[in-house]
Point group: none
Chain length 235, copies 2
Protein backbone atom coordinates (compact mmCIF):
# COMPACT_ATOMS: atom_id res chain seq x y z
CA UNK A 1 0.00 0.00 0.00
CA UNK A 2 0.95 3.60 0.37
CA UNK A 3 3.72 3.64 2.93
CA UNK A 4 5.72 6.80 3.52
CA UNK A 5 5.69 8.51 0.10
CA UNK A 6 7.27 11.87 0.48
CA UNK A 7 7.00 13.95 -2.66
CA UNK A 8 9.34 16.78 -3.54
CA UNK A 9 7.60 19.58 -5.45
CA UNK A 10 9.81 21.84 -7.53
CA UNK A 11 7.48 24.53 -8.78
CA UNK A 12 7.78 28.29 -8.84
CA UNK A 13 4.17 29.28 -9.38
CA UNK A 14 2.50 29.70 -6.01
CA UNK A 15 -0.94 28.89 -7.27
CA UNK A 16 0.05 25.61 -8.89
CA UNK A 17 2.12 24.69 -5.86
CA UNK A 18 -0.79 25.27 -3.56
CA UNK A 19 -3.05 23.19 -5.74
CA UNK A 20 -0.54 20.35 -5.90
CA UNK A 21 0.11 20.40 -2.19
CA UNK A 22 -3.50 20.28 -1.15
CA UNK A 23 -4.34 17.72 -3.79
CA UNK A 24 -1.47 15.45 -2.76
CA UNK A 25 -1.95 15.81 0.97
CA UNK A 26 -5.57 15.03 0.50
CA UNK A 27 -4.57 11.70 -1.05
CA UNK A 28 -2.26 10.87 1.82
CA UNK A 29 1.07 11.97 0.40
CA UNK A 30 3.55 14.06 2.29
CA UNK A 31 5.07 17.00 0.45
CA UNK A 32 8.09 19.23 0.64
CA UNK A 33 8.38 22.21 -1.64
CA UNK A 34 11.01 24.20 -3.46
CA UNK A 35 10.33 27.22 -5.63
CA UNK A 36 13.46 26.94 -7.76
CA UNK A 37 15.79 24.35 -9.21
CA UNK A 38 18.71 24.99 -6.95
CA UNK A 39 17.02 24.51 -3.60
CA UNK A 40 15.06 21.67 -5.13
CA UNK A 41 18.25 19.80 -5.92
CA UNK A 42 19.57 20.59 -2.46
CA UNK A 43 16.43 19.16 -0.84
CA UNK A 44 17.00 15.90 -2.64
CA UNK A 45 19.60 15.01 -0.03
CA UNK A 46 18.20 16.81 2.97
CA UNK A 47 14.65 15.54 2.62
CA UNK A 48 15.18 12.20 0.90
CA UNK A 49 11.89 12.11 -1.02
CA UNK A 50 10.38 9.10 -2.81
CA UNK A 51 9.37 10.96 -5.93
CA UNK A 52 9.92 14.32 -7.60
CA UNK A 53 7.41 16.52 -9.37
CA UNK A 54 9.26 19.10 -11.46
CA UNK A 55 7.93 22.09 -13.37
CA UNK A 56 9.88 22.68 -16.57
CA UNK A 57 9.36 26.44 -16.49
CA UNK A 58 11.51 27.37 -13.54
CA UNK A 59 12.99 30.85 -13.29
CA UNK A 60 16.54 30.00 -12.26
CA UNK A 61 17.47 26.86 -14.17
CA UNK A 62 16.70 25.11 -17.38
CA UNK A 63 14.24 22.31 -16.70
CA UNK A 64 16.28 19.87 -18.77
CA UNK A 65 19.37 20.62 -16.72
CA UNK A 66 17.48 20.00 -13.49
CA UNK A 67 16.15 16.72 -14.83
CA UNK A 68 19.59 15.57 -15.86
CA UNK A 69 21.05 16.55 -12.52
CA UNK A 70 18.28 14.78 -10.64
CA UNK A 71 18.95 11.67 -12.66
CA UNK A 72 22.64 11.92 -11.91
CA UNK A 73 21.97 12.16 -8.21
CA UNK A 74 19.34 9.45 -7.86
CA UNK A 75 17.01 6.98 -9.53
CA UNK A 76 13.86 8.55 -8.16
CA UNK A 77 10.79 8.67 -10.35
CA UNK A 78 10.47 12.10 -11.94
CA UNK A 79 7.16 13.54 -13.07
CA UNK A 80 7.41 16.55 -15.35
CA UNK A 81 4.91 19.40 -15.47
CA UNK A 82 4.97 21.40 -18.67
CA UNK A 83 3.00 24.27 -20.06
CA UNK A 84 1.49 23.80 -23.44
CA UNK A 85 4.12 25.95 -25.07
CA UNK A 86 6.90 23.65 -23.94
CA UNK A 87 6.12 20.58 -26.00
CA UNK A 88 9.65 20.38 -27.26
CA UNK A 89 11.25 20.73 -23.84
CA UNK A 90 9.01 18.01 -22.55
CA UNK A 91 10.43 15.53 -25.03
CA UNK A 92 13.95 16.58 -24.17
CA UNK A 93 13.18 16.11 -20.50
CA UNK A 94 11.93 12.59 -21.13
CA UNK A 95 15.12 11.89 -23.02
CA UNK A 96 17.09 13.31 -20.11
CA UNK A 97 15.58 10.72 -17.82
CA UNK A 98 12.16 11.93 -16.70
CA UNK A 99 9.62 9.14 -16.27
CA UNK A 100 6.37 10.78 -17.19
CA UNK A 101 4.78 14.14 -17.83
CA UNK A 102 1.63 16.16 -17.37
CA UNK A 103 0.61 19.04 -19.58
CA UNK A 104 -1.01 21.96 -17.86
CA UNK A 105 -3.79 22.42 -17.20
CA UNK A 106 -4.62 19.18 -15.43
CA UNK A 107 -7.02 18.09 -12.73
CA UNK A 108 -6.32 16.27 -9.51
CA UNK A 109 -7.79 13.03 -10.85
CA UNK A 110 -5.33 13.03 -13.65
CA UNK A 111 -2.46 13.84 -11.34
CA UNK A 112 -3.44 11.03 -9.06
CA UNK A 113 -3.66 8.54 -11.92
CA UNK A 114 -0.20 9.46 -13.16
CA UNK A 115 1.31 9.10 -9.71
CA UNK A 116 -0.34 5.74 -9.22
CA UNK A 117 0.97 4.49 -12.54
CA UNK A 118 4.42 5.80 -11.78
CA UNK A 119 4.53 4.19 -8.36
CA UNK A 120 3.25 0.91 -9.72
CA UNK A 121 5.79 0.88 -12.51
CA UNK A 122 8.63 1.49 -10.09
CA UNK A 123 7.61 -1.00 -7.43
CA UNK A 124 6.86 -3.73 -9.94
CA UNK A 125 10.47 -3.54 -11.02
CA UNK A 126 10.22 -4.64 -14.62
CA UNK A 127 13.86 -3.79 -14.98
CA UNK A 128 14.96 -6.38 -12.45
CA UNK A 129 13.71 -9.49 -14.17
CA UNK A 130 16.42 -12.13 -14.40
CA UNK A 131 15.32 -14.20 -17.35
CA UNK A 132 13.54 -12.92 -20.40
CA UNK A 133 11.79 -15.33 -22.71
CA UNK A 134 9.75 -14.96 -25.86
CA UNK A 135 9.20 -17.43 -28.66
CA UNK A 136 12.40 -19.36 -29.32
CA UNK A 137 14.47 -16.71 -27.59
CA UNK A 138 15.68 -16.94 -23.99
CA UNK A 139 17.99 -14.43 -22.33
CA UNK A 140 19.53 -14.90 -18.89
CA UNK A 141 20.28 -11.34 -17.90
CA UNK A 142 22.36 -12.01 -14.81
CA UNK A 143 24.51 -14.75 -16.35
CA UNK A 144 24.69 -12.86 -19.64
CA UNK A 145 23.71 -15.91 -21.66
CA UNK A 146 21.46 -16.08 -24.69
CA UNK A 147 19.70 -19.13 -26.13
CA UNK A 148 17.78 -19.73 -29.32
CA UNK A 149 15.80 -22.89 -28.78
CA UNK A 150 18.28 -25.34 -27.20
CA UNK A 151 21.44 -23.71 -28.46
CA UNK A 152 23.46 -21.13 -26.67
CA UNK A 153 24.51 -18.19 -28.81
CA UNK A 154 27.73 -16.30 -28.34
CA UNK A 155 27.05 -12.63 -27.71
CA UNK A 156 29.60 -9.83 -27.59
CA UNK A 157 29.47 -7.15 -24.87
CA UNK A 158 27.99 -4.42 -27.03
CA UNK A 159 25.47 -6.77 -28.54
CA UNK A 160 24.44 -7.81 -25.06
CA UNK A 161 24.01 -4.27 -23.83
CA UNK A 162 21.84 -3.42 -26.80
CA UNK A 163 19.75 -6.51 -26.27
CA UNK A 164 19.39 -5.77 -22.57
CA UNK A 165 18.08 -2.31 -23.21
CA UNK A 166 15.55 -3.61 -25.69
CA UNK A 167 14.48 -6.28 -23.22
CA UNK A 168 14.11 -3.73 -20.45
CA UNK A 169 11.64 -1.93 -22.71
CA UNK A 170 10.19 -5.09 -24.20
CA UNK A 171 7.26 -4.33 -26.46
CA UNK A 172 8.02 -0.62 -26.50
CA UNK A 173 9.89 1.44 -29.03
CA UNK A 174 13.36 2.51 -27.96
CA UNK A 175 14.63 5.52 -29.88
CA UNK A 176 17.93 5.62 -31.72
CA UNK A 177 18.94 8.35 -29.37
CA UNK A 178 18.26 6.33 -26.27
CA UNK A 179 20.15 3.31 -27.52
CA UNK A 180 23.16 5.26 -28.70
CA UNK A 181 23.20 7.29 -25.54
CA UNK A 182 23.15 4.26 -23.27
CA UNK A 183 25.60 2.10 -25.16
CA UNK A 184 28.07 4.50 -26.73
CA UNK A 185 27.48 7.66 -24.71
CA UNK A 186 26.28 11.15 -25.52
CA UNK A 187 29.01 11.94 -28.05
CA UNK A 188 27.86 9.20 -30.44
CA UNK A 189 24.21 10.17 -30.43
CA UNK A 190 24.23 10.68 -34.18
CA UNK A 191 26.09 7.53 -35.22
CA UNK A 192 23.05 5.59 -36.28
CA UNK A 193 25.07 3.32 -38.50
CA UNK A 194 26.32 1.62 -35.32
CA UNK A 195 22.78 0.56 -34.62
CA UNK A 196 22.24 -0.75 -38.13
CA UNK A 197 25.33 -2.88 -37.91
CA UNK A 198 24.79 -4.26 -34.43
CA UNK A 199 21.10 -4.86 -34.91
CA UNK A 200 22.09 -6.67 -38.07
CA UNK A 201 24.53 -8.86 -36.15
CA UNK A 202 22.02 -9.57 -33.43
CA UNK A 203 19.43 -10.53 -36.00
CA UNK A 204 21.95 -12.78 -37.67
CA UNK A 205 22.48 -14.57 -34.38
CA UNK A 206 18.98 -14.55 -32.94
CA UNK A 207 16.53 -14.60 -35.79
CA UNK A 208 15.54 -17.67 -37.74
CA UNK A 209 15.28 -15.53 -40.84
CA UNK A 210 17.32 -12.36 -40.35
CA UNK A 211 15.73 -10.76 -43.38
CA UNK A 212 12.28 -11.11 -41.77
CA UNK A 213 12.90 -10.44 -38.11
CA UNK A 214 10.37 -11.74 -35.59
CA UNK A 215 11.99 -10.29 -32.50
CA UNK A 216 14.12 -7.30 -33.38
CA UNK A 217 11.79 -5.00 -35.26
CA UNK A 218 12.60 -1.70 -36.95
CA UNK A 219 10.50 1.39 -36.32
CA UNK A 220 11.36 3.51 -39.33
CA UNK A 221 12.72 6.90 -38.42
CA UNK A 222 12.27 6.27 -34.71
CA UNK A 223 14.14 3.33 -33.32
CA UNK A 224 13.84 -0.38 -32.61
CA UNK A 225 11.53 -2.60 -30.64
CA UNK A 226 11.76 -6.07 -29.20
CA UNK A 227 8.53 -7.85 -30.05
CA UNK A 228 6.81 -9.61 -27.19
CA UNK A 229 5.23 -12.98 -27.67
CA UNK A 230 1.79 -12.88 -29.17
CA UNK A 231 0.83 -16.56 -29.04
CA UNK A 232 0.91 -17.32 -32.81
CA UNK A 233 3.58 -16.80 -35.40
CA UNK A 234 4.49 -17.93 -38.88
CA UNK A 235 7.04 -16.99 -41.54
Amino acid sequence: MTTSHLILLIEDDIQTRRFLKSSLNHRGWQTVEADNGKTGLAMLNSENPDLVILDLGLPDMDGIAVTRRLRQLSDLPILILSARSQEQNKIMALDAGADDYLTKPFGSGELHARLQALMRRISRGIANQEIFETGQLRVDLTRRKVFVGENEVRITPIEFRLLSILIRHAGLVVTHRQLLQEVWGAEHIHDQHYLRIYLGQLRHKLEINPARPRYLLTEMGVGYRLAVDDHSSQD
Copy 2:
Protein backbone atom coordinates in the same frame (compact mmCIF):
# COMPACT_ATOMS: atom_id res chain seq x y z
CA MET B 1 -12.91 21.71 -4.25
CA THR B 2 -11.90 20.06 -7.46
CA THR B 3 -15.32 19.44 -8.99
CA SER B 4 -16.75 22.93 -8.67
CA HIS B 5 -16.58 23.94 -12.36
CA LEU B 6 -16.75 27.65 -12.21
CA ILE B 7 -16.86 29.34 -15.59
CA LEU B 8 -15.80 32.91 -16.20
CA LEU B 9 -17.87 34.60 -18.93
CA ILE B 10 -16.30 37.61 -20.60
CA GLU B 11 -19.02 38.95 -22.86
CA ASP B 12 -20.35 42.45 -23.40
CA ASP B 13 -23.65 41.70 -25.10
CA ILE B 14 -26.33 41.36 -22.44
CA GLN B 15 -28.48 39.05 -24.47
CA THR B 16 -25.71 36.55 -25.20
CA ARG B 17 -24.57 36.71 -21.62
CA ARG B 18 -28.02 35.91 -20.36
CA PHE B 19 -28.33 33.01 -22.76
CA LEU B 20 -24.95 31.61 -21.78
CA LYS B 21 -25.58 31.96 -18.09
CA SER B 22 -28.90 30.20 -18.11
CA SER B 23 -27.67 27.52 -20.46
CA LEU B 24 -24.61 26.83 -18.34
CA ASN B 25 -26.36 26.95 -14.99
CA HIS B 26 -28.93 24.59 -16.36
CA ARG B 27 -26.14 22.07 -17.01
CA GLY B 28 -24.82 22.44 -13.50
CA TRP B 29 -22.00 24.90 -14.04
CA GLN B 30 -21.41 27.92 -11.87
CA THR B 31 -20.79 31.20 -13.66
CA VAL B 32 -19.26 34.57 -12.95
CA GLU B 33 -19.55 37.35 -15.48
CA ALA B 34 -17.59 40.30 -16.77
CA ASP B 35 -18.75 42.68 -19.49
CA ASN B 36 -15.31 43.81 -20.57
CA GLY B 37 -11.77 42.54 -20.88
CA LYS B 38 -10.28 44.45 -18.02
CA THR B 39 -12.62 43.29 -15.28
CA GLY B 40 -12.55 39.85 -16.84
CA LEU B 41 -8.81 39.62 -16.38
CA ALA B 42 -9.16 40.96 -12.86
CA MET B 43 -11.69 38.27 -11.99
CA LEU B 44 -9.24 35.61 -13.00
CA ASN B 45 -7.53 35.98 -9.67
CA SER B 46 -10.44 37.02 -7.52
CA GLU B 47 -12.79 34.26 -8.65
CA ASN B 48 -10.35 31.51 -9.61
CA PRO B 49 -12.46 29.94 -12.36
CA ASP B 50 -11.86 26.55 -14.02
CA LEU B 51 -12.54 27.72 -17.55
CA VAL B 52 -12.98 30.95 -19.50
CA ILE B 53 -15.45 31.77 -22.24
CA LEU B 54 -14.33 34.89 -24.06
CA ASP B 55 -16.13 36.97 -26.67
CA LEU B 56 -13.73 38.35 -29.24
CA GLY B 57 -15.77 41.47 -29.91
CA LEU B 58 -15.30 43.33 -26.67
CA PRO B 59 -15.58 47.10 -26.56
CA ASP B 60 -12.57 47.93 -24.45
CA MET B 61 -9.82 45.54 -25.52
CA ASP B 62 -8.68 43.57 -28.49
CA GLY B 63 -9.76 39.98 -28.10
CA ILE B 64 -6.36 38.67 -29.09
CA ALA B 65 -4.72 40.75 -26.41
CA VAL B 66 -7.10 39.39 -23.79
CA THR B 67 -6.42 35.85 -24.92
CA ARG B 68 -2.69 36.35 -24.79
CA ARG B 69 -2.92 37.90 -21.35
CA LEU B 70 -5.12 35.11 -20.07
CA ARG B 71 -2.59 32.59 -21.31
CA GLN B 72 0.19 34.49 -19.62
CA LEU B 73 -1.62 34.45 -16.33
CA SER B 74 -2.80 30.86 -16.33
CA ASP B 75 -3.17 27.62 -18.25
CA LEU B 76 -6.95 27.57 -18.03
CA PRO B 77 -8.95 26.27 -20.98
CA ILE B 78 -10.22 29.16 -23.11
CA LEU B 79 -13.25 28.97 -25.36
CA ILE B 80 -13.61 31.77 -27.91
CA LEU B 81 -16.90 33.21 -29.12
CA SER B 82 -16.67 34.98 -32.44
CA ALA B 83 -18.98 36.61 -34.91
CA ARG B 84 -18.90 35.36 -38.46
CA SER B 85 -17.07 38.47 -39.56
CA GLN B 86 -14.17 37.80 -37.23
CA GLU B 87 -12.83 34.78 -39.06
CA GLN B 88 -9.31 36.11 -39.04
CA ASN B 89 -9.33 37.13 -35.39
CA LYS B 90 -10.61 33.74 -34.42
CA ILE B 91 -7.60 32.06 -35.94
CA MET B 92 -5.25 34.50 -34.31
CA ALA B 93 -6.90 33.89 -30.96
CA LEU B 94 -6.45 30.14 -31.36
CA ASP B 95 -2.83 30.66 -32.23
CA ALA B 96 -2.47 32.93 -29.22
CA GLY B 97 -3.46 30.05 -26.98
CA ALA B 98 -7.22 29.69 -27.06
CA ASP B 99 -8.38 26.08 -27.09
CA ASP B 100 -11.49 26.14 -29.24
CA TYR B 101 -14.08 28.45 -30.69
CA LEU B 102 -17.77 28.82 -31.37
CA THR B 103 -19.14 30.95 -34.16
CA LYS B 104 -22.27 32.92 -33.40
CA PRO B 105 -25.01 32.06 -33.58
CA PHE B 106 -24.73 28.75 -31.80
CA GLY B 107 -27.10 26.56 -29.86
CA SER B 108 -26.78 25.22 -26.36
CA GLY B 109 -26.11 21.71 -27.65
CA GLU B 110 -23.10 22.91 -29.56
CA LEU B 111 -21.88 24.89 -26.58
CA HIS B 112 -22.29 21.92 -24.35
CA ALA B 113 -20.35 19.62 -26.68
CA ARG B 114 -17.40 22.00 -26.83
CA LEU B 115 -17.32 22.39 -23.07
CA GLN B 116 -17.48 18.65 -22.63
CA ALA B 117 -14.47 18.20 -24.89
CA LEU B 118 -12.54 20.88 -23.02
CA MET B 119 -13.38 19.55 -19.60
CA ARG B 120 -12.67 15.99 -20.55
CA ARG B 121 -9.15 16.90 -21.49
CA ILE B 122 -8.58 18.01 -17.94
CA SER B 123 -10.53 15.63 -15.79
CA ARG B 124 -9.84 12.44 -17.72
CA GLY B 125 -6.53 13.56 -19.00
CA ILE B 126 -7.00 12.76 -22.65
CA ALA B 127 -3.92 14.81 -23.34
CA ASN B 128 -1.68 12.41 -21.47
CA GLN B 129 -3.19 8.98 -21.71
CA GLU B 130 -1.32 6.16 -23.31
CA ILE B 131 -4.10 4.69 -25.39
CA PHE B 132 -6.62 6.74 -27.31
CA GLU B 133 -9.78 5.11 -28.52
CA THR B 134 -12.81 6.34 -30.41
CA GLY B 135 -15.16 4.41 -32.62
CA GLN B 136 -13.20 1.87 -34.63
CA LEU B 137 -9.97 3.73 -34.08
CA ARG B 138 -7.42 2.79 -31.44
CA VAL B 139 -4.02 4.45 -31.02
CA ASP B 140 -1.37 3.22 -28.61
CA LEU B 141 0.74 6.31 -28.11
CA THR B 142 3.66 4.74 -26.28
CA ARG B 143 3.94 1.75 -28.58
CA ARG B 144 3.30 3.88 -31.64
CA LYS B 145 0.71 1.46 -32.94
CA VAL B 146 -2.55 2.26 -34.66
CA PHE B 147 -5.50 -0.06 -35.13
CA VAL B 148 -8.70 0.21 -37.09
CA GLY B 149 -10.99 -2.42 -35.68
CA GLU B 150 -8.84 -5.54 -35.42
CA ASN B 151 -6.23 -4.59 -37.97
CA GLU B 152 -2.99 -2.82 -37.30
CA VAL B 153 -2.23 0.02 -39.68
CA ARG B 154 1.24 1.02 -40.78
CA ILE B 155 1.93 4.63 -39.91
CA THR B 156 4.92 6.69 -41.00
CA PRO B 157 6.71 9.01 -38.56
CA ILE B 158 5.17 12.22 -39.84
CA GLU B 159 1.73 10.72 -40.01
CA PHE B 160 2.11 9.58 -36.42
CA ARG B 161 3.24 12.96 -35.21
CA LEU B 162 0.28 14.65 -36.84
CA LEU B 163 -2.10 12.11 -35.39
CA SER B 164 -0.58 12.47 -31.94
CA ILE B 165 -1.07 16.21 -31.94
CA LEU B 166 -4.69 15.86 -32.97
CA ILE B 167 -5.21 13.23 -30.27
CA ARG B 168 -3.62 15.47 -27.67
CA HIS B 169 -6.29 18.02 -28.56
CA ALA B 170 -9.00 15.45 -29.14
CA GLY B 171 -12.35 17.07 -29.80
CA LEU B 172 -10.75 20.48 -30.20
CA VAL B 173 -9.65 22.34 -33.27
CA VAL B 174 -5.95 22.58 -34.05
CA THR B 175 -4.90 25.36 -36.42
CA HIS B 176 -2.86 24.85 -39.57
CA ARG B 177 -0.20 26.96 -38.00
CA GLN B 178 0.03 24.85 -34.88
CA LEU B 179 0.28 21.62 -36.81
CA LEU B 180 2.85 22.90 -39.27
CA GLN B 181 4.86 24.47 -36.50
CA GLU B 182 5.02 21.34 -34.41
CA VAL B 183 5.68 18.85 -37.18
CA TRP B 184 7.75 20.74 -39.75
CA GLY B 185 8.99 23.67 -37.69
CA ALA B 186 8.57 27.42 -37.89
CA GLU B 187 9.99 27.79 -41.39
CA HIS B 188 7.17 25.76 -42.97
CA ILE B 189 4.31 27.56 -41.31
CA HIS B 190 2.79 28.48 -44.66
CA ASP B 191 3.08 25.11 -46.41
CA GLN B 192 -0.52 24.09 -45.93
CA HIS B 193 -0.36 21.68 -48.84
CA TYR B 194 1.67 19.39 -46.56
CA LEU B 195 -1.34 19.14 -44.30
CA ARG B 196 -3.68 18.38 -47.15
CA ILE B 197 -1.46 15.58 -48.34
CA TYR B 198 -0.78 14.00 -44.98
CA LEU B 199 -4.31 14.36 -43.69
CA GLY B 200 -5.35 12.70 -46.93
CA GLN B 201 -2.96 9.82 -46.30
CA LEU B 202 -4.15 9.43 -42.73
CA ARG B 203 -7.76 9.42 -43.82
CA HIS B 204 -6.94 6.84 -46.43
CA LYS B 205 -5.49 4.61 -43.73
CA LEU B 206 -7.86 5.31 -40.85
CA GLU B 207 -11.24 6.20 -42.25
CA ILE B 208 -13.74 3.67 -43.46
CA ASN B 209 -14.77 6.13 -46.15
CA PRO B 210 -11.94 8.62 -46.69
CA ALA B 211 -14.21 10.89 -48.69
CA ARG B 212 -16.58 11.24 -45.72
CA PRO B 213 -14.27 11.34 -42.74
CA ARG B 214 -15.67 10.42 -39.33
CA TYR B 215 -12.54 11.09 -37.32
CA LEU B 216 -10.29 13.56 -39.12
CA LEU B 217 -12.50 16.55 -39.72
CA THR B 218 -11.67 19.69 -41.67
CA GLU B 219 -12.35 23.10 -40.16
CA MET B 220 -12.44 25.24 -43.27
CA GLY B 221 -9.98 28.09 -43.14
CA VAL B 222 -8.90 27.20 -39.62
CA GLY B 223 -7.43 23.76 -39.20
CA TYR B 224 -8.40 20.20 -38.35
CA ARG B 225 -10.19 18.44 -35.53
CA LEU B 226 -10.20 14.86 -34.33
CA ALA B 227 -13.79 13.92 -33.56
CA VAL B 228 -14.42 12.03 -30.34
CA ASP B 229 -17.31 9.76 -29.59
CA ASP B 230 -19.43 11.06 -26.81
CA HIS B 231 -20.34 8.05 -24.74
CA SER B 232 -22.69 10.12 -22.61
CA SER B 233 -26.24 9.79 -23.85
CA GLN B 234 -27.59 13.22 -23.13
CA ASP B 235 -28.68 15.98 -25.51
